[in-house]
């Protein structure tokens, strides 16, 4: 159905009298009325093109290898037949490639192209009245009505003859043959006129007379596949020492890699590893007073020992960091670095660039505050500074510095408190030199701000998943994220916990709550992450009741984690990550569908690959305290299931297999065993491959 071919050859064959398709790289603005000789006779309209984010101001997002489906409303006055094509090219290509668009229903057309390079692609749509197909349509009707078609054959022969002159080689010969046959009006002419081979040739050599060109050239930004599917683990280096009480180092951290790899994570996110300020350093549990042995928060960046391009001496050296990158690579783990653009009063920027900070009336520098809270250890950067250009360059150089060490993933701290325009520029600049770089936006803020950051270039985004616990909340939120235009630019990364957030559900729900939230995050989101070892050890004590801060938070002190605890969820995590890897349905979010269950404490949803070879159905008991049971109502057609046949539900968590019949099925989940099923739906029964252990 879809044929890709370079446009170049075609264009050379076109007659000089036809209007040029494209002069250079930009699609000319063609959809305005006017008195120019060509434009006024353009009868076709192209509108409602999708994807198109904010009128084309921002690109849609895809990953390498994706097929981009483009749809448009295309129509003309009257009843003529149309032809349409999708034009596309990689950023660096000067020639358009093209693929045919096919009509769906209600004047909607669709075309598909594949993105194979790590760059932006451009696309637009072109359509024109297809004279031959219009003629063929009328001809067939007249033949059916047994009307005389002698004149029609002459006119058809003329159109075919014109196409023959546009064609070359055997195509030209074949077309000339058809033209002669039609002109002859012999017994066979009527059959030949509607020959599919002729239609195909005429489509290839279609006369693009007065083509309508969509007025915008749209873009799709292509990332590497990890942008779409990744499993994150956050861990503090200084808590990784083998011996209790010692300040962990990057070497200790590197030694923990096998632990992370065994759980199946492929991104290890390191909180800031820069020197920590001394002025107003926070003590344990965020206390305003410190004792000399308090280590401070890694997000209080900058001391006499260095700033954003330095490594905290107690963690080690740049060489240690490079060793970490190399070893992580052996485990197929990427290191994600934290980008937190803020400074302690001790940061060298404060002395060297005082104009980058806001000055108070008394000459002091404005520290961060949210009255009554004061964060005197943090100076926010003033993006309204007159010296913004130097500032932007310096901040960019921080990211480039770490890129040069080999980092290709950044987790950006509070991007919503820095200027939007800076991010759009900086992300583009970094990707110019290092195209595969990914940026995760830690913007726990208002929805439109979160979406804007995603449009500006952030590859992934933290979400409200952290606080969405009920079936209604989860269904509504994930429907918005996966079933609306948001899915075109916003890639959710789901975190059940972070060093800043121990949600109430985890505080009160015990181990079952951790299991349920792990499975929800890992199955609802193709990208997800946990902050460990606090997560797998089900640490659930808050600083005080009503607080989401961890008690004795690792942000302010070194922790000693008993990672070998028999209570650890690491085995379940490993299994969940293996299930994710083995099932391509879970590598994307676009197929997510929720199914009704007659119990508000049970949520059921499915994901599947486009070819339906991999269909996953997840059922989770959201009540961490009681066994819940209920009837699930599936849409069998949607899952590719035959309502007349039983089907096998293979629970990938327990390896149990169930035989289900029809749309309604009963189940019961005890949160103290496993609060979820992760079923692979097996379509047929008694087929030998169903009995292979799948992973």
């Amino acid at each position: 159905m879809i044929q890709d071919k370079p446009d170049k050859g075609r264009r050379q064959n076109r007659k000089a009298t036809e209007p040029p398709l494209f002069q250079g790289r930009r699609a000319p603005v063609a959809d305005n009325p006017g008195h120019d000789q060509t434009g006024a006779r353009i009868r076709v309209v192209i509108e409602g093109v999708q994807p198109e984010i904010d009128c084309g101001r921002f690109p849609a997002k895809r990953v390498v290898g994706d097929h981009v489906t483009v749809e448009a409303d295309i129509f003309t006055d009257g009843h003529d037949a149309l032809a349409a094509r999708l034009l596309y090219r990689a950023e660096h290509q000067s020639e358009w490639r093209e693929t045919a668009m096919e009509p769906l229903v209600n004047d909607r057309w669709r075309g598909v192209f594949q993105v194979t390079e790590l760059t932006d692609y451009h696309y637009t749509v072109q359509a024109w009245v297809d004279r031959f197909m219009s003629w063929r349509q009328g001809f067939s009707k007249k033949v059916a009505a047994k009307q005389d078609v002698a004149l029609e054959l002459v006119e058809g022969a003329e159109l075919v003859g014109e196409a023959a002159r546009r064609a070359t080689g055997t195509d030209a010969e074949m077309l000339a043959g058809y033209a002669a046959a039609l002109r002859s009006s012999d017994a066979d002419a009527g059959r030949k006129a509607v020959d599919d081979e002729l239609a195909a040739l005429m489509s290839t050599y279609s006369e693009h007379r007065w083509p309508a060109i969509y007025e915008k050239e749209l873009r799709v930004a292509v990332d590497r596949q990890k942008a779409e599917f990744s499993s994150w683990y956050e861990m503090f280096p200084r808590s990784c020492a083998a011996e209790p009480g010692r300040h962990g180092t990057l070497q200790d951290y590197t030694a923990r890699l096998p632990y992370v790899a065994e759980m199946g994570f492929d991104v290890l996110y390191v909180p800031p590893l820069h020197p920590i300020g001394r002025s107003f350093r926070k003590g344990k549990n965020g206390a305003l007073t410190t004792s000399p042995d308090d280590v401070g928060s890694p997000w209080a960046i900058g001391s006499e020992e260095g700033g954003h391009k330095s490594i905290h001496p107690r963690l080690g050296t740049l060489a240690d960091f490079k060793q970490l990158l190399a070893k992580a690579n052996e485990h197929n783990i990427e290191i994600a670095l934290d980008i937190a653009f803020q400074c302690t009063p001790d940061h060298s920027y404060v002395k060297e660039h005082p104009e980058w900070f806001r000055k108070r009336a008394d000459g002091s520098i404005q520290y961060a505050e949210n009255p009554p809270k004061k964060y005197q250890d943090i100076y926010p950067i003033d993006f309204e500074t007159h010296d913004w250009q130097a500032l932007w360059e310096e901040l960019k150089s921080v990211m480039l510095f770490w890129c040069e060490q080999g980092v290709r993933i950044f987790r950006v701290d509070n991007p919503h408190t820095k200027a939007f325009r800076f991010w759009e520029w900086a992300i583009a600049e970094v990707k110019k030199d290092h195209p595969g770089t990914l940026f995760l936006a830690e913007a726990f803020t208002r929805p439109k701000v979160m979406y804007r950051l995603a449009k500006l270039g952030f590859s992934q985004s933290y979400t409200y998943f952290t606080w969405r616990n009920t079936k209604r909340e989860l269904t509504q939120y994930f429907t918005e994220l996966t079933r609306t235009e948001v899915a075109e630019f916003f890639r959710p990364n789901l975190w059940p916990n972070t060093p800043d957030i121990l949600p109430e559900y985890l505080q009160y729900g015990g181990r079952p709550a951790f299991m349920a939230r792990l499975i929800l995050a890992a199955m609802l989101g193709a990208n997800y992450g946990i902050y460990g070892p606090a997560f797998e050890l089900a640490v659930n004590a808050p600083r005080e009741p009503g607080s989401e801060e961890y008690l004795d938070s690792e942000k302010y002190q070194i922790k000693q984690w008993n990672i070998e605890s028999p209570e650890s969820l690491r085995g379940l995590i490993a299994r969940v990550n293996r299930i994710r890897k083995a099932n391509p349905a879970l590598h994307r979010n676009h197929s997510l569908r929720f199914y009704p269950v007659d119990n508000e404490d049970i949520i059921c949803f499915g994901k599947q690959t486009n070819d339906r070879n991999n269909v996953i159905l997840v059922v989770v008991n959201l009540d961490p305290h009681h066994t819940q049971s209920g009837w699930v109502e599936l849409e069998l057609a949607d899952l590719g299931l035959d309502p007349a046949q039983p089907f096998q539900m293979h629970d990938l968590l327990t390896d149990a297999r169930y035989l289900w019949h029809g749309a309604r099925n009963y189940l019961s989940l005890d949160p103290n065993v496993v609060p979820a099923h992760v079923f692979r739906v097996r379509h047929g029964l008694r087929r030998e491959q169903d009995f292979d252990y799948f992973m």
Copy 2:
């Protein structure tokens, strides 16, 4: 809340060091990142502006006197307070006017401006970080937290002092006074800092530092009020003769005006009154053979006697036509003329401009056909002609010719078979000379084509109402027309019948069907029309079973209508039109809401004015054969009703009054009496004005 003031004075007061707001009339493109000194420091984002049709390619539509509500998503990084204003101007004005925008929820802002002239208006949005309000926010929090605010007062005094220098006259003095008070840090300073008067002054003299300007200048096209609210009546002049058998004239037609006026219509649509071709003239019931006395179809335009600018000699003269216009005017009726751009073989265009028609291979001109049907009496115009410019000018001159005679409404026949670009150009050209001109698109075609024509400039459009009979169909269709973006550009005009369409529902439903469809059209649509006298006489015989053509259609022959028939629905029609005129809720469609009824044959909907002083509730029995009853479920809050109080339902059709209680109410409708209630909802009881006869 909304203060309108010209921007000019403000601008003169602004300091030279601030960036210019607007240079000339166009809003500069400001929402792109870049390295220019001003743009990079713009921290505010403006997106999601509504109304905005197809990225601003087309204007939204309003009528004179309307308030245009503009909304936008406006936000910045961090937590600063913002200010936003809506800028607007009439097409001919070079200076923007402005009005403040107010925040709603979730970063959504709203502003309103009124359109008072018959022209396009332009609008855009501007927003900036409000330094004073940001300061005030922090100041108040610190005061509440009992923190020291001495430094804050100094900084506040500085901001107020700057504003004082921007202000003039007493405003400047007052601001200077506030600045001094704050600077003094005396006991009263804290109270003065948060004074509302100060806030208002600071808002007036707000420093627009690095304002974000929405990147598009959007448009709203303003028509006269009839575009929004009109009652149409279609009638053939040649059937208006007083004596049976005679060919009616424009004078006869003029004599029928009181009949039309009594029914309460304000637009009288005249089918084409041009000379009718002789070649291939159609006989009675569309027969291919004619007898010499066959009068032909008025849509077969052009003969030796003239074309689109001529009047059929048997109808009269241009003087008669002008007399018709003058007399109609006395009855507050406007004449709508038919624009049917097609020609008979006898039209002078065919000889004078053969290049405006498509030529076949044998040199003949292509007539209209839809195999197996042939319309040899009609030559469609070829909008792909190389001579398109002369063609466009000539067609425009047809409309201008009739405008010069005094016509200001055109009903355009089959606009969807003519080039879109022509219409956009021609409508704009006509309105340039005659701004009040209205165009009704008779495009019974695919939805996207109908919507496109509306976007291009048609003021009103025929709809699928003609074929929407069930509650589900009507609810779905009118929800789409009134509750989606379609309402911004598409003004429905509802016709239960036309000379081309006698729907099956009318064929089989008898008088009750005509009553129900009349009430539905007149109440669902602020614009509606009927083709009479066939409608009020409940003519329901089709040409043959399964056909929607009238038997002995007036399109092909002269009819003699017994308009004085006692069976006529003219009395009901007059009452319905009086109800429409007296109730402003029915002059618009935007408030249309459907309410559930537990009977699929009963439909219930309401309309109301924004101030809820006029609330109409319509209930129609869609079953023309049987009495139907059921429970209506109202949303009382939506109707402005107190659930604890009874309310009076005043049926404006019968003048009966009912006392209803609560949301659920029972009713029963006998189609053979009146198949509908048209209630005016009376909020209070026992108030003297409820007992006045309302019209």
